[in-house]
C-alpha cells in the first residue's frame, strides 16, 4: 500500500474531464479529497490523498503525466516560520486532524504525520507565517 498527497491542477480545458473517475476505475485507487477549488469554466485545483497498491498509485501518476495533467506531490506538508511564530494558537482552532496543538509550555506543536495539508491554518494564521511546502 502507498498513500500520497497531491495537488492536481485543472486547466480551463481539463475542468470538465472526469479525471478522478478515470483514476479510480483504471487503477483502483482511493481518493480522500482534502481541499477542492474548482469552478466550471475556469481553472481549479484539488488537494487529495491517493492510496492503493504501490504499482497502481504509480500508474495513476503516469496516467496524469501522459495526459498532460499538471500535479504536485506533497512530500513535506505545511511549513511554518518557527522563528516568526508568536504561539498565539489561532491555527489550532481550525486544524481538523489535531496536527497543530498547544504544548505544555503554551508553544505551538506541529505533528507532520497528522497533517492533511488542508490549508485551513494558512488563512487562520493572523501573521501569515504558515504555507504549504511542495
Amino acid at each position: 500500500m502507498t498513500k500520497i498527497k497531491i495537488k492536481i491542477y485543472y486547466s480551463r480545458d481539463e475542468i470538465d474531464k472526469p479525471i478522478t473517475y478515470e483514476l479510480v476505475k483504471k487503477y483502483d485507487v482511493m481518493f480522500n479529497i482534502l481541499h477542492a477549488n474548482i469552478n466550471y469554466g475556469s481553472e481549479g485545483n484539488l488537494i487529495t490523498e491517493i492510496s492503493g497498491e504501490d504499482e497502481n498509485v504509480k500508474q495513476a501518476l503516469t496516467y496524469l503525466d501522459e495526459n498532460g495533467i499538471r500535479y504536485k506531490k506533497y512530500t513535506k506538508s505545511i511549513i511554518r516560520d518557527e522563528q516568526a511564530c508568536i504561539d498565539c494558537g489561532a491555527c489550532t482552532a481550525v486544524c481538523p486532524s489535531g496536527a497543530l496543538t498547544m504544548d505544555k509550555n503554551a508553544e505551538l506543536k506541529f505533528e507532520k504525520d497528522k497533517c492533511l495539508v488542508c490549508g485551513l491554518c494558512i488563512k487562520a494564521c493572523p501573521i501569515g507565517i504558515i504555507d504549504i511546502e511542495l
Binding site: 508568536i86 504561539d87 494558537g89 489561532a90 489550532t92 482552532a93 481550525v94 493572523p126
Partner: protein, 382 residues
C-alpha cells in the same frame, strides 16, 4: 503593609522580591497569603493579544513649501489627517487601499517600529499658510518628530469565549469559528492578565507606569467601554467584558517582538500588543488578588453568530486543556492570544525591576469604579 515608596527603595537597592503572576500562585499555596505578602514586593503580569483599538500619533515634520495634509496614506493605508498640518494618527484596524485585509494600520505600525521606510502620500487644499497641494515621500522612525502609540482600549479585563451555532463557518475577530459548535476560541492570558490581578483597580490607575510593546509606557486614561460594573465572581474577578485602559508610550523605543500587525481572515486587520503591569504587594489583600489561578477565573460563552444565548461559563484551566464539555459534547478550544509571549513579558518586566531599571508609580488618580457601557440606538433627529 508596605508603601510604593518603600518598595521603590528596595528596587533601587536591588533587594526587591519580584515574581510573576504565575509564580505567586505556588508561593501563596506553600507559604500562605500572609507570609507571602510579607515576602513578595511586586507581582508582574503580561498579555500579548490582538487589540484593535490601538494606533499611533506621528508628527512628520514640515516640508518646504509646507502642506496642511488633508488626506494621508501610509503605505497605502489611510491615516487620520484632521489635526494640525503634519500631525497624523494611524489606526491599527485601518485597511490598505491596495491590499485590503492583507495589510493595514497594524502592519504600518510594525514596519515603522522595525525602522523601515514608510511611503507617505498626502494631499492638501493649498492656502496662503500651506501652499503645497500634494506630497509623496517616505518617513521612518529616525526622520520624523514625535511618534507615540496611543491605544484607546487595551488589556480588556476578561473576554468572553466564542462559539458559532450556525451551519456555516464564520470569520470573526475571535478567529475562524467552525459550524455547529465546532470549536471555541478564547483570548486572555488568564492568571497572567494585568487587570485580572488587580480586579478592583486598587493600584492600577491613571499614570501607572507599564511595559508597552517592549518599552516603558503609561496608563493614560480609562479605556473605551470601561465597564467596572460587570458581573463578578466572589474573588472580585469579572466573568465578562469589564475594565479597560488607554495606554501610551514612545513608538520609537518599541520592539516588533511585542508589537505585531495581524490579519483575521475575512474580518480585517489588527495589532498584537504586548503589555505588562507591575502590581505592588501593599498588603495581604493585593497578594490574594494576584494569587488568583486559572481555575478561579471564569468567562462567559458567547455565540458569535448571535443566534443562541447560553448560561455557560468556563474557567481558564478548562479552556487551556484543549477541550471543554458543551451540552454533552467535547468541543475543541483554542487560544488567540499568546500565553508564551505573555509569560515572556511578565518575566521581562520582572527582570527590569530586579535590575533596578524600572520603578513603580503611584496612580495619579484611580480608574473609575462605577461606569456603564451605553449602546448606540437609532434615535430620531430633532
Amino acid at each position: 503593609m508596605k508603601t510604593i515608596a518603600e518598595i521603590n527603595e528596595k528596587i533601587k537597592k536591588g533587594t526587591a522580591v519580584v515574581v510573576t503572576a504565575e509564580e505567586v500562585i505556588q508561593i501563596a499555596k506553600e507559604k500562605g497569603y500572609k507570609k507571602a505578602a510579607e515576602e513578595i514586593d511586586v507581582v508582574t503580569t503580561g498579555t500579548f493579544g490582538a487589540m484593535c483599538s490601538s494606533g499611533a500619533f506621528i508628527n512628520t515634520g514640515h516640508a518646504n513649501p509646507p502642506i496642511k495634509m488633508q488626506s494621508i496614506t501610509l503605505n497605502d493605508v489611510p491615516a487620520y489627517a484632521g489635526l494640525a498640518a503634519v500631525d497624523l494618527f494611524i489606526g491599527a484596524a485601518e485597511l490598505s487601499n491596495k491590499q485590503g485585509m492583507e495589510y493595514g494600520g497594524g502592519h504600518v505600525i510594525e514596519d515603522f517600529i522595525a525602522g523601515k521606510d514608510i511611503k507617505l502620500y498626502a494631499k492638501g487644499v493649498g492656502t496662503d499658510s500651506y501652499p503645497r497641494k500634494e506630497i509623496l515621500t517616505t518617513i521612518n522612525k529616525y526622520n520624523v518628530n514625535q511618534a507615540y502609540m496611543y491605544n484607546p482600549r487595551n488589556a480588556y479585563q476578561n473576554y468572553p469565549a466564542a462559539i458559532n451555532s450556525t451551519d456555516k463557518t464564520i470569520y470573526t475577530y475571535m478567529g475562524t469559528l467552525l459550524p455547529k459548535h465546532g470549536n471555541i476560541t478564547y483570548a486572555t492570558s488568564g492568571e497572567l492578565s494585568p487587570l485580572i490581578n488587580d480586579p478592583h483597580y486598587r493600584t492600577i490607575g491613571i499614570g501607572t507606569k507599564i511595559f508597552l510593546g517592549g518599552a516603558v509606557g503609561y496608563v493614560s486614561w480609562q479605556g473605551t467601554q470601561h465597564n467596572p460594573a460587570q458581573e463578578r465572581g466572589e474573588n472580585g474577578v469579572p466573568t465578562n467584558l469589564a475594565g479597560t485602559i488607554a495606554v501610551t508610550g514612545n513608538l520609537k523605543d518599541m520592539s516588533t517582538r511585542y508589537i505585531k500587525g495581524a490579519r483575521y481572515h475575512k474580518y480585517g486587520v489588527s495589532l498584537f500588543v504586548g503589555l505588562g503591569i507591575p502590581i505592588p504587594i501593599l498588603d495581604e489583600e493585593m497578594l490574594r488578588y494576584t494569587a488568583v489561578s486559572n481555575e478561579e477565573i471564569y468567562t462567559t460563552l458567547v455565540d458569535k453568530s448571535g443566534n443562541e444565548t447560553y448560561d455557560i461559563k468556563y474557567n481558564y484551566a478548562q479552556l487551556r486543556s484543549g477541550h471543554v464539555d458543551f451540552k454533552g459534547k467535547s468541543v475543541l478550544t483554542a487560544p488567540l492570544s499568546s500565553l508564551s509571549r505573555a509569560r515572556e513579558i511578565a518575566n521581562t518586566l520582572k527582570d527590569w525591576i530586579q535590575h533596578s531599571n524600572f520603578t513603580l508609580t503611584e496612580a495619579v488618580t484611580p480608574l473609575p469604579r462605577e461606569d456603564k457601557v451605553n449602546t448606540l440606538d437609532i434615535r430620531e433627529m430633532k
